[in-house]
Symmetry: C2
Subunit: 512 residues, 2 copies
């Protein structure tokens, strides 16, 4: 049920100059139940509308209430001046006189209103007591369910929730992190009933459907052969939400169960479309909500869809949002750890940034364990005696690239350390000594490689380090052609001045 | 006129699971003319609909054409598989057989189709010749107008266009840069007919109305007493557009005249709402369009509206978009120069980031001229003998703050240089030597002050420099209270380690 205050005045103008649609007809077309109240001061009519809306259980209701902004003000009634500015002392006085309201004291609460509000407090106390009684009875009758509720409401995960999280065997061909993410999600979901979510019409691409866990739907009866079905029932027990092509709405909708508690909701789309949902992502962080956003197709390497679909600045732009944790895992096993971090978070949301293309699954018997992701950045391959003269740093799909480059450079006698840096925020939260252990201040030769804009990387490469980045829009071509043309090859990495500790050049404007 | 291909299948599913609205009724409610074509293969029906749409001149037309995705494919007709993936060799073969189309050669253009396309080319050549003839006649009959057109189409400004741009006298109380911007816009607009634009329902706050230059409206007849009127006629000659509360649409709409040529359109809203229009801003940059975006209320200093309205990360997030030039002027005179830069730009858009609150109008007889803004960053106050031991850097509303701090620190015997840095992009485009002249590499003690997230500033302060920033969301309070609580005072600036060249501390993780 939604009350729409139809006062026909906005901040700048009357609505007649920019908003001529028939609002009720528009919501009728959406399938809503609409009710018009002609006079916003007619309490009887509003009451009747509220009752009619409550009686309608199959559709949401929109009650359009015609009101007048600045009602009763002799000079500001129905005017834009009443939108953004206070009426002012004089006009308030005139308005009170006009409405037959006592002009003194300035803040007057008359007795009937006071009694009404006080009664509401008493009614609330009674309702709360009754609720508590029902909860106690429920806990007595269903102790297991009460335990689950007590655990879920504050956001705790059930014991053994990650028992089935897969480990991925080393594999040079590897798999896309979006695919690995889908496997992890589906391994975890049966043990974590708090998971609920879906994509903005991209399940087959984002790999975010929770298979055989049902589709959330007001009416039972669709069958599992319906196109887009995730398997299982179509009813209110379904855990897959179908948002349609509506990223902004998805962002707003997933905030709901997170604010309610008892759920760790998620939404999914391509990274480029995160631009469409920055406002609700930001609101979640303002409120300290725990949502997981799955953003796939994370660089120019998505290929033929071209520059309109290729994120270049979105990763950086998400990192700029306060409170939000952004993670871009390098391979399937980092993706599994990223999901653990995402689910274990509490008063913040987590963004997972995943590849469309296959990424090698790193051989963890040769390199450091993927669990290092928890620290935001970790040493994947170290130089002999842990004494690097050069540090290569990358996130996500570029980690495989610096691993190959590091091995070639080591063959050339350069003491290289290779750092996987999936998350700035997790790294920045470490104590200084732990950060210095990964990126020792004494090592000035550094090269960061990331297929996005460089903004912010100077923080980690220092003044003589280099960033291999993408500072222009993408192009339409197969992924391997693009990566070659944009310089993301082992040859290019190794040829960089920044990859040669004997060829260091200070970035002049920056002090060194 | 808009053709809507209603195939009822999206990437992930049939539309029935997420898109149940009555599309025609929705557009009827918007006031559109809607026409349904039941069969997308019925060329006669489509032709009739197109003719009906052309005949309707008072309303836009939506033609809803029912089609079937993968039409004719025995196994993929009406299926999601036909949305995102090619049919494949075998299914293409089966589809051709099913449709009675020759299966060889693989790319077949039959003779009637070829003749039809060839005829279109001939018709196009005839139409172009006729057009050129009319243009020549027009140029002969109206040489002045033809001159204006020839100048406007490639984006040239008329001679003397900036004659009336105001200069602002030094004033400690000063004015808000949004107000200065409004004065500049109104001084320039009468001489630059290419200017056309408006705000997303915020004219009285963004100060972007072009007064007495009319309001763009399909029907004449509204009078200038209409709320929201900019003064002048309401018709197609009006240069003020009323977008309503629609930032994304505004961003898309202003791209239109920019793509057409002959206009330098602008849109305006609060900086926080730039998040709602990143997709069209980005598209403009992809296309190299020249649009000016005016974003006001640019920091926590907007005050009581609170954290939902206070931009913290938006400035940085805009700087991340390739090609875009972001300018945050420090006072009224920098605002005037910023508008010159914005109008003189060509294949890129410019964002002006402006304050709600008053900012002191700097005394340019004591400080460097505001024209330094063209270089992105310039020395406002220098240390004795141009030998600074400390550089203070700020943009926009924080420049007044570092000017006051610099004067106090100079009194304490510290050799301070004070740099106004309104635009990273303009600065980064300078030759290295010019950048080094403003920010000499030898001066490591630097403090940047900006009321937004620090991300990216490390590029300019180096590894031992400091950034005074806002790393969390805002709060609801009067501007002066917020600025004090968030540390934006002369005392705080002067007390920073970063403001004391004898107390330099390297940021440890960053190499130094």
């Amino acid at each position: 049920m939604c009350l729409y205050e139809d006062n026909r005045v906005t901040l700048a103008a009357g609505t007649d100059i920019s908003f001529t649609e028939d609002r009720a007809a528009r919501f009728d077309a959406y399938g809503w139940h609409t009710i018009a109240v002609a006079d916003g001061n007619d309490l009887g009519a509003i009451d009747a509308a509220l009752c009619a809306a409550r009686a309608e259980t199959a559709r949401p209701s929109l009650i359009l209430v015609r009101t007048h902004i600045g009602y009763g003000s002799p000079n500001k009634h129905d005017s834009v001046e009443a939108h953004g500015s206070p009426l002012g002392v004089d006009e308030v006085h005139l308005t009170k006189q006009n409405l037959g309201w006592p002009t003194e004291p300035p803040f007057l609460i008359q007795e009937p209103a006071l009694a009404h509000f006080r009664a509401a407090a008493e009614r609330g106390a009674r309702d709360e007591a009754a609720w508590n009684e029902r909860m106690a009875a429920y806990a007595g009758a269903y102790p297991d369910l009460e335990d689950e509720l007590a655990q879920r409401l504050p956001g705790e995960l059930p014991p053994g929730w990650d028992t089935d999280t897969p480990e991925f065997a080393a594999d040079a061909k590897g798999i896309a992190t979006r695919v690995a993410s889908g496997k992890v999600m589906n391994a975890v979901a049966p043990r974590v009933p708090a998971r609920l979510g879906g994509s903005a019409d991209l399940d087959p691409s984002t790999h975010t459907a929770l298979k055989w866990l049902g589709d959330f739907n007001p009416v039972s009866g669709k069958d599992i052969d319906t196109q887009g079905s995730s398997g299982g029932d179509w009813d209110y027990t379904g855990r897959n939400l179908h948002f349609g092509v509506r990223e902004h709405a998805m962002g707003a909708i997933v905030n709901g169960p997170a604010a309610h508690g008892g759920f760790v909701p998620y939404g999914a789309t391509y990274l480029i479309f995160s631009d469409n949902m920055r406002p609700p992502i930001r609101l979640a962080e303002l409120m300290g909500l725990h949502v997981v956003h799955v953003f796939t197709h994370d660089s120019i390497a998505l290929g033929e869809d071209g520059p309109t679909h290729q994120p270049v600045e979105q990763l950086t732009a998400l990192r700029a949002i306060p409170n939000l944790t952004v993670i871009r895992p390098a391979d399937a096993n980092e993706t599994a750890v990223a999901w653990r971090v995402a689910l274990e978070a509490r008063d913040r949301s987590v963004v997972l940034v995943l590849s469309r293309q296959n990424l090698p699954t790193l051989d963890r018997s040769r390199y450091a364990p993927a669990d290092g992701l928890r620290r935001g950045a970790y040493v994947l391959i170290d130089a002999p005696d842990a004494k690097p003269e050069l540090i290569l740093i990358a996130s996500g799909s570029e980690v495989g690239l610096i691993v190959a480059a590091a091995e070639r450079l080591q063959g050339q006698g350069i003491a290289v350390r290779c750092v996987s840096m999936p998350s700035w925020e997790l790294f920045d939260a470490l104590p200084q000594a732990e950060r210095d252990a990964v990126l020792p201040p004494s090592v000035r030769a550094r090269l960061a490689v990331e297929a996005g804009v460089a903004q912010g990387w100077r923080q980690y490469v220092g003044t003589v380090g280099e960033v291999m980045s993408v500072e222009r829009f993408g192009a339409s071509a197969p992924a391997d052609v693009l990566l070659r043309e944009y310089g993301f090859t082992v040859d290019s990495v190794c040829a960089r001045d920044g990859a040669n500790p004997r060829r260091l050049r200070p970035a002049l404007t920056v002090p060194n």
